[in-house]
């Protein structure tokens, strides 16, 4: 990832730049929800920046290594791969983040989900919160 962003906004922009530079396909709705969930898990700016950069690095690895980078999911989801990695790259820290991706036959990589491994419901909490806000208005 070029440069070293220090703010959440810069980190999100940097992630976007990384995705544009690689053959990546995304669902904008899912990515924005995953980023919001990640922000809730990492309220500290520096932690969030580090986590976003780690996700960018994981996406790059997924593009370079494809299926070899992850472990296939089970049953009907076996075309999808998961990989766990630390939010603080370079340190000997726990693999607390997750990326779910699928390499396709034409060389692209579809990004289905990313986020904190122990907070899988955060996405739905986000959706529920938004739904409540809409009803109030």
């Amino acid at each position: 990832m070029k440069g070293a962003p220090h703010t959440p906004t810069a980190a999100v922009e940097a992630l976007g730049a990384v995705l544009r530079e690689h053959p990546v396909l995304i669902d904008p709705l899912l990515v924005s929800e995953d980023l919001a969930s990640l922000r809730r898990v990492f309220p500290d700016d520096a932690d969030f920046v580090s986590a976003v950069l780690a996700i960018g690095a994981a996406v790059v690895h997924a593009c370079m290594k494809g299926a070899a980078f992850g472990i296939p999911l089970q049953y009907q989801l076996q075309t999808w791969y998961r990989v766990a990695f630390p939010s603080r790259p370079g340190r000997k820290s726990k693999a607390d983040l997750r990326l779910v991706f699928r390499p396709t036959e034409n060389g692209t990589v579809e990004i289905l989900a990313f986020g904190h491994r122990q907070n899988p419901q955060a996405v739905y909490l986000t959706a529920k919160t938004r739904s409540s806000v809409r009803k109030k208005h």
Binding site: E13, G16, L19, R20, P28, S32, L35, L77, T126
Partner: protein, 110 residues
């Protein structure tokens, strides 16, 4: 480190001094009596000594726990991933697409 923290998980006499470490017999004998020893110098706890067998057990315990966490994670995310996989609409991560991501991210977090 507080005295209670230092004592936690250890028998009261499960310790060895720096000077005693020079004696292999003393170390072996002490480790035979206790699964883990505090290595102390005066009131400071410098390290913890365990037998190779105990160390292997600890590593295996960690691996077992990581496997259990992994199974829990897979069960927890399976439903979410299934739903996403069936409904996702993938597009290239263009500049305009990312502007949309950023705008929604800001809405969700503001």
């Amino acid at each position: 480190m507080t005295p209670s923290t230092v004592l936690a998980g250890f028998d009261l006499d499960a310790e060895i001094g720096m000077s005693e470490l020079r004696s292999e017999e003393t170390l072996t004998e002490r480790l035979h009596e206790h699964p883990a020893l505090r290595l102390r110098r005066r009131n400071d706890m410098l390290a913890v000594l365990v037998t190779p067998e105990r160390w292997r057990e600890m590593l295996q315990t960690i691996r077992d726990l990581e496997d259990a966490i992994d199974r829990y994670e897979q069960a927890a995310v399976h439903g979410i991933i299934s739903e996403r996989a069936s409904k996702a609409h993938f597009v290239p991560a263009t500049k305009s697409t990312w502007n949309e991501v950023t705008r929604r991210f800001n809405d969700l977090t503001s």
